[in-house]
Structures are given as C-alpha cells and as structure tokens.
C-alpha cells in the first residue's frame, strides 16, 4: 500500500517518471460503468468486458476456441463440444462439463424473479448434457446454427464454488433442482462467488463500476503481463482524455476524433484503432399506412416508395461524414454489416448523387419534398449528434422539411419500442456474425427462429424472407453465407433502412504500450503489453 501511494505521488509530479514505477499496474478508463461483477443479468458491452477478464466462454468473441477446443454437429438439433483439459478455476477446482451445465442453469434462471435479458439467446436450448468430464452436448428445439455465436454470452462459472455436488440435470427454467444454492449478485460483487477460469481475479468491485483486478496465478493459458489492473469509469469524454494526459490512466477507450489530434501532438501518447463491428444505419418505416413523424401533402407515406428511400440514401455523402466528422476513423458502409466482417458478401459502393436523388424524388411524386422527423439518440453513438446534423443538412438540401430530434437514450428507446419513430438512427454491433442486423431489424418476426425482434421498418419482402429463413436453419457454413448474401443484396436493393458507416474502435494510450484491440471494441488488459 505505501508503495502504491508513493507511486501515485510521484505520478502527480511527472507522468514520465511514473511510467517506470507503475509498470506492473495497468490503469484503464472505461466510458461506461460496468453494472455488476455478476456476468449474467446484464448484456451491455462494459459489464461484459469486465466479466471477460475473470470469466471465459466456450467460444471466444473472435470465433476462436477458448474453453472448448472443438465442436461438431451430430444432427440438425444437436451439437457437441470438446472441452479444454487441465483448466482450473481461480479457486483451484478443475473445469469440467458439469460447470458448463451449471453455468447454463444459472444463466437461464431468473434470479429474484428478474428476467435475464441474455436468456433469450439460448432459449431454444432444450437440454445440456455432460457426456463425460470433457464433453458436453447441447440439444435445441429446432435447427439453431447460430448457437455457437450465442454461446459467446455463456460465461463459465464454477459449480464447486457454489457448493453444488453431484450431477446437474438441466431444465429450461434454469432451476435444475439447485436454484436454492445460486449465489446472489451481491456475492459476485463482494468477490465470493466471482470465481472464473480467466486470466484475472477480482480484488474489489465498487457499485460505481470501478474494479481492481489481480493476476490469476493459476491461469491455464499464457500468464498475463499485468500484475494488477485498475478499471475506472469516466463517462465524460473530455475528462477521460484529460485523465490520460494528466497521467491518471494508461489507456482510455473511445477518444473522440478531436482527442486524437491532441494525442498526435504529444509524443508521450498515441492511439490504436481497429475497424469495429458496429454498423450505424437509419431505419425507415415503410408501412403503407403511415410512418411516425412523416407527413406528405397527399397524406401518403413517401417512405413506402422504394424510389424515395433510394433518394434519401443517394443524398448522403458517406465519405464526407467519415472523413470530416470521424477524421477517417470510420468506414463508409455499403451494406448492413461491416463489409470486412467474415461472411459479409462483396457489394458495390453506395452511390452519392444529389441531382439524381432530387430527380428520383420528383419521379416518385414528391417534387416539393415532404416533412419528416429524424430521431437520433443524443448519448449513445460516437458523434451521433454530428452525424444527425450532417444527414439533416443533406436531406434539407434535397428539399425535405427535416426536424432533427435528439433525445436521451431512455426516451428514444421507449418511443422506438412503441413504434412511434418513423425515421431513426441506430447502431447494431454484436460479435455474432454478419447476418445479425438484417435478421433482427428487417426480417418478419419469428421468435422460434430468433428473427425480426426489432423490425421497426415493417419491411416485408418475399424474396428477402425466403433467403433469411433459409439462412436461419442452415448449419453448413458455405450455404449459410450464400443465403446471407442473397438476403443482404435484397435488403440493400429495397433499402428498408439506409446503411451509413462502420465505427472504428479507438483507444488512446501511453506510447510505451502496445495495443492489439479486437473488433468488438472491448477494453481488455489482455490486449495491452509494454514495449
């Protein structure tokens, strides 16, 4: 303790001296506070990022084997995983198939009656069987090829640490006959139940979202470089970067394009970028009977006409947005998934032509334009308000009467869920394959296949439906990609939404650190090493 106090005091004098003194410790600033040390009830990025220092999944976020070494389909509704041998939890207990069954039970269980928003992802799983200590089989109601994607949610807990003995029989409610033994969220937050196989263990977790981690000396993989990791939550952009410059943090996430200019000028700091998974796009309500906030002189919904949607898309200069508002730290979109993501089809660039857009609008019968309300969440996406204003500029020049409405996320999300928003900006980016966005936002609703949970465009195209439904049950990777390509091309032709750009994930950090970030944008101590 006195040593770290001394280090901190030295740090106050000069960030350069401190970089040597504090080499063992890595201090990271998050933009959003992790909610809990309990990995289950929350699905947000930051709770996930924190948890993944301590807990591991069967399948890594980058689709690589993690606690499972191999997996294979044994039938359309049955998939078997071989588990890694010689892995122990931080309390010394060995990792076996029983822990996988236990983790599924705990994940599906509604603790204190609270629904677990992650559970739907693995809802189709009917049974989880420990075949032997290092083999586990998942059974599903129907063919569910994206289960390997969804298993990225399943963080493995220790059954022993919860004091559970003997075999566990899985049931879909997650009760499994052992619900009384489940540790509560508080047990995770105070560290007692937070026992995982990951490279770090909790030293402390604060309700404010601040966490201190120390190296897991029993880690099965390569021993992590940092003896100690301090995670702090600093939602204010400027404060985060100022904290880096002042020597309070070694690495901060999501610097703004402006911050990068400051960092460029200071030789002690630099930044790392990696093209990310998040697609920012606009959803257009295409229903014939009207769209929220959209009013045309003749009472029709102009957005029901594909020509109008094309005109709206053509009016937007995506390159200008990524160049000017993101200083190049975003990639112009040409489809509803990052174009560089595995499985995303080859597609041509989307055209920008203001003249042609005006002509299309006239052709569709709206030469004098129409009025629309464009909704953008104020506090959700990088440069979201700036992008909203840029789009407003383009559409106003097209001849539309655009009202830009920016609201806090909670208000925006409520109005969106109630279907009040006819035109809104949104971002979608989970590490779950290139079909994630179109299958959720544009497909007709089908809870059994996990399709269309957020279809606010009211898009309904037979060709698209056929392709996406075929994709949903296809277990062969090559054929699956083909169906995806068909569906994607149909969606880009019909434009039930307008793809804008893909965010890059950015980290600002000390120059003497090396950083290899993942596309999913999680800030992890494991991706940082000293030079």
């Amino acid at each position: 303790m006195p040593k770290s106090l001394l280090a901190a005091l030295l740090l106050s004098c000069s960030p350069l001296i401190a970089s040597g003194a504090a080499a063992e410790t890595l201090r990271m600033a998050y933009s959003t506070a992790p909610v809990s040390a309990d990995p289950y009830p929350y699905s947000d990025t930051h709770t996930g990022a924190l948890a993944e220092h301590v807990f591991e999944m069967l399948v890594g976020l980058d689709d690589s084997p993690l606690l499972a070494t191999e997996w294979r389909w044994e039938g359309p509704t049955s998939i078997v995983f071989d588990l890694r041998e010689g892995v122990t939890f931080s309390n010394g207990a060995p990792f076996t198939a029983r822990d996988v069954v236990y983790s599924m039970c705990r994940m599906m269980y509604r603790v204190d009656g609270r629904a677990n928003v992650v559970t739907s992802a693995l809802g189709p799983v009917t049974d989880v069987v420990a075949v032997d200590d290092h083999t586990v089989r998942f059974e599903t109601t129907a063919p569910y090829p994206i289960i390997t994607q969804k298993l990225k949610f399943l963080k493995i807990l220790s059954a022993d640490a919860a004091g559970i003995e003997g075999d566990i029989a899985y049931d879909r409610e997650g009760d499994c006959g052992i619900a009384d033994s489940y540790p509560a969220q508080a047990d995770f937050d105070n560290g007692d139940a937070a026992i995982g196989t990951g490279p770090y263990v909790y030293e402390s977790f604060q309700a404010t979202g601040d966490a201190d981690l120390v190296r897991n000396e029993n880690y099965w993989g390569e021993s992590p470089e940092w003896g100690r990791v301090e995670i702090r939550s600093v939602p204010n952009n400027g404060a985060r970067i100022a904290g880096l410059l002042a020597g309070d943090y070694d690495i901060v996430e999501q610097p703004s394009a402006e911050d990068l200019q400051v960092i460029d000028r200071d030789e002690n700091f630099t930044y790392s970028a990696v093209p990310g998974l998040q697609t920012i796009f606009i959803v257009l309500d295409t229903s014939e009977d009207g769209a929220g906030g959209v009013t045309a002189a003749d009472g029709s919904n102009p957005l029901a006409d594909v020509k109008v949607r094309q005109a709206l898309s053509m009016a937007i200069d995506r390159q200008a947005i990524t160049d000017r508002l993101f200083s190049g730290n975003a990639t112009a979109a040409n489809q509803f998934a990052p174009r560089y993501m595995a499985g995303a089809p080859e597609m041509p660039e989307l055209e920008t032509d203001a003249e042609a857009a005006r002509a299309l609008l006239a052709e569709a019968g709206y030469p004098d334009g129409f009025a629309l309300e464009f909704n953008v969440p104020a506090d959700r996406y990088t440069n979201g308000q700036l992008v909203g204003q840029a789009i407003t500029q383009y559409w106003t020049r097209l001849g539309l009467d655009v009202t830009l409405r920016t609201e806090p996320w909670s208000v925006f999300q409520t109005r969106r869920t109630e279907g009040e928003l006819g035109v809104f900006m949104y971002g979608w980016g989970h590490p779950q394959g290139a079909a994630q966005l179109i299958s959720g936002a544009f497909a007709q609703r089908d809870d059994d296949l996990g399709l269309g949970s957020a279809n606010f465009s009211n898009y309904n195209s037979p060709a698209f439906e056929e392709a996406i439904q075929a994709w949903a049950v296809e277990v062969d990777p090559a054929r699956s990609d083909e169906y995806l390509a068909q569906a994607m091309k149909q969606a880009v032709a019909d434009l039930p939404g307008i793809p804008l750009f893909y965010n890059h994930e950015l980290w600002a950090h000390r120059t003497d650190l090396e950083l290899v970030g993942g596309a999913e944008g999680r800030t992890m101590a494991m991706m940082v090493s000293s030079k």
Binding site: G238, E258, D259, V262, R324, A378, L386, Q389, Q393, V411
Partner: protein, 300 residues
C-alpha cells in the same frame, strides 16, 4: 398608467441618471445590455449566415479556423464548428435565443406570480393556502433540478425551457408580492378604499399593485440573468434547445469537445459572450438593488 405612479418622462430620466451617476461599472453594464440586446434583435441582418438554415450549412465547411472563407464565399471571422456553422453568426443567434428565453420566462413567471400573489392577499383563506403551498412545493426544489425533471418529462425545446423556468420563477414573486401586499392591506388607505365601496379588482390593480411591484422590479434583472444561466446550463446538459438551433450554452457544450485540441474558438467565443451578458445584467442589478435598499446590500 395609474395615478400613483404617474411621472413625467423627464423626471423619470433624472431619477434614472441619479441611480447610475458615479457608478462606472453599472454604466458599462447598461451599455453592455443595450449592445447585446441590439445585436440579438438585429441578428438576422447582422449575421453573415443563417445558422439555423440547415440547407446553408455543410460539414465540408466544418472546423475552419477564424478568418476562413466558407464554400459559398462567406467570410467566417470567428471560424466554424464541426457541422460548418459560422461561430459569429451562431453566437448572435444564440444571444437571441438566450435573451428571448430569459425575457419570456421571467415575464411570464413575474406576471403569474404577481397576479397569484395579489389574489392570495385579497382572497385569503383556502385560496391563499393553496397558492402558497403550491409555491412552497416549487420552491422546495432548486430551479435547475426542477427544470431538468420537467424537461425530461416534457421533452426539450425553447418553449419547454421557457415553461420550466417560468415555473421556478412565479413562486418567488408570488411570495414576495404577498408579503408586501399583506402589510399594505393593513394600511388605512386600503380600508378607506374598501369603505368607499371600491371593487376588489380595482383595489388589487390600482392600489396594491403599484406598491407591491417595486420590490419585484428590483429582483427582475437578477431573475433574467439567472434565467440566462439556467437555460445555458440545461442546454449544456443536453435537455434544452434543439441542436439545430443552438443557444450559447449548447454552443459551449459542443465546443467543449474541441477545447483540448486547440480549437478554442468554438467554445471560447460563446462562453465569453455569455459571461459578459450575465455580468452586464448583474452589475446593473446590483446597482438597482443597492439603490433600492442601501442597508441590505448583497443579501440575495
């Protein structure tokens, strides 16, 4: 126009001069107020660009340093912000928004407060109790917090900001008017007026109002500067005016992200103008209050 306050305009001017003579800071404040008001009033004529017209803005003009030329040939003396808005024009329009919101909200708040305060005095009983307990309810909360909550519920926009601020302002004035009014009511001339059969409304507006209004007028300038700051704070927190029609507070908030990278012009110009505007009003307000109440300097 009531008899009791009638005065020739020349007499008024002399009195006005007496208040400010020998107080250079207050005079400077007065000049500032006139200047800022004129700029705000004539912003559409003076501003090189209409910063609210989205079709005239272009992100390709974004983040230009001072003295740059925009694509349409306009000279941008103070540079532009990220979406290509000319800062000088935006500051002029922003002042307009700030002053408009402050004046209307204070005007509405004072009018409602004075009337309700007088009604409370005249009617007494349960009407008095309801009005004053409602005033307590609003005053039991700091203005900005109250406005923040209201705006989250109502949604944002200049009209909503005005409403939210006025709700904070009326209660203060109602209390003040009631306090003064109650002591007036005990005086003989009111009793005489009542005996003479003069109607309640006439007593309210011809006798009570002129006497109760002067303490209210003393706090009005302070209320205006308070409203300007409150609007700026709400816009800074992102619940005030829409981003396509920024006020000074929102301009500062936008520019905040660029302070560190050396693009000071986005945030510094609106910030300085805001401080100067509030300062001008406050020195005048101080002077008015000291003049009205020399013993109780600075007791707000």
């Amino acid at each position: 126009m009531s008899e009791t306050t009638f005065e020739s305009s020349a007499g008024r001017f002399d009195r006005f001069r007496a208040v400010f003579a020998g107080y250079p800071a207050a005079v400077a404040g007065l000049i500032g107020i006139v200047l800022f008001s004129l700029i705000a009033l004539f912003a559409p004529v003076l501003a090189p660009q209409d910063p609210f017209d989205q079709s005239r803005l272009d992100i390709m003009d974004g983040l230009l340093p001072p003295m740059s030329t925009l694509m349409d040939g306009t000279l941008s003396v103070l540079g532009t912000d990220a979406v290509g808005r000319d800062i000088l024009s935006a500051v002029m329009y922003g002042m307009r928004t700030s002053l408009f919101v402050a004046l209307v909200s204070v005007g509405a708040g004072v009018a409602v407060g004075v009337v309700l305060g007088l009604v409370a005095v005249m009617r007494g009983g349960w009407i008095d109790a309801v009005i004053m307990r409602t005033a307590d309810l609003t005053l039991s909360f700091p203005g900005v917090l109250l406005a923040l909550l209201l705006l989250v519920v109502f949604g944002s926009g200049a009209d909503k900001v005005i409403l939210a601020l006025a709700i904070g302002i009326w209660a203060q004035n109602a209390r003040l008017v009631r306090a003064v009014g109650l002591s007036e009511m005990k005086k003989d001339y009111i009793a005489a007026a009542r005996l003479a059969g003069i109607g309640q409304l006439r007593i309210m507006f011809h006798f009570l109002l002129p006497n109760a209004i002067s303490p209210v007028l003393v706090i009005v300038p302070m209320a205006i500067s308070g409203a300007i700051v409150a609007e700026a704070t709400l816009s800074f927190l992102g619940v005030g005016v829409p981003i396509t029609e920024p006020s000074l507070g929102l301009l500062i908030s936008n520019g905040n992200d660029y302070l560190l990278s050396g693009r000071w012009w986005i945030s510094v110009a609106p910030g300085l103008v805001l401080v100067m505007m509030v300062l001008s009003i406050n020195v005048v307000a101080d002077r008015l209050r000291d003049h009205a109440n020399p013993y109780l300097q600075a007791r707000t």
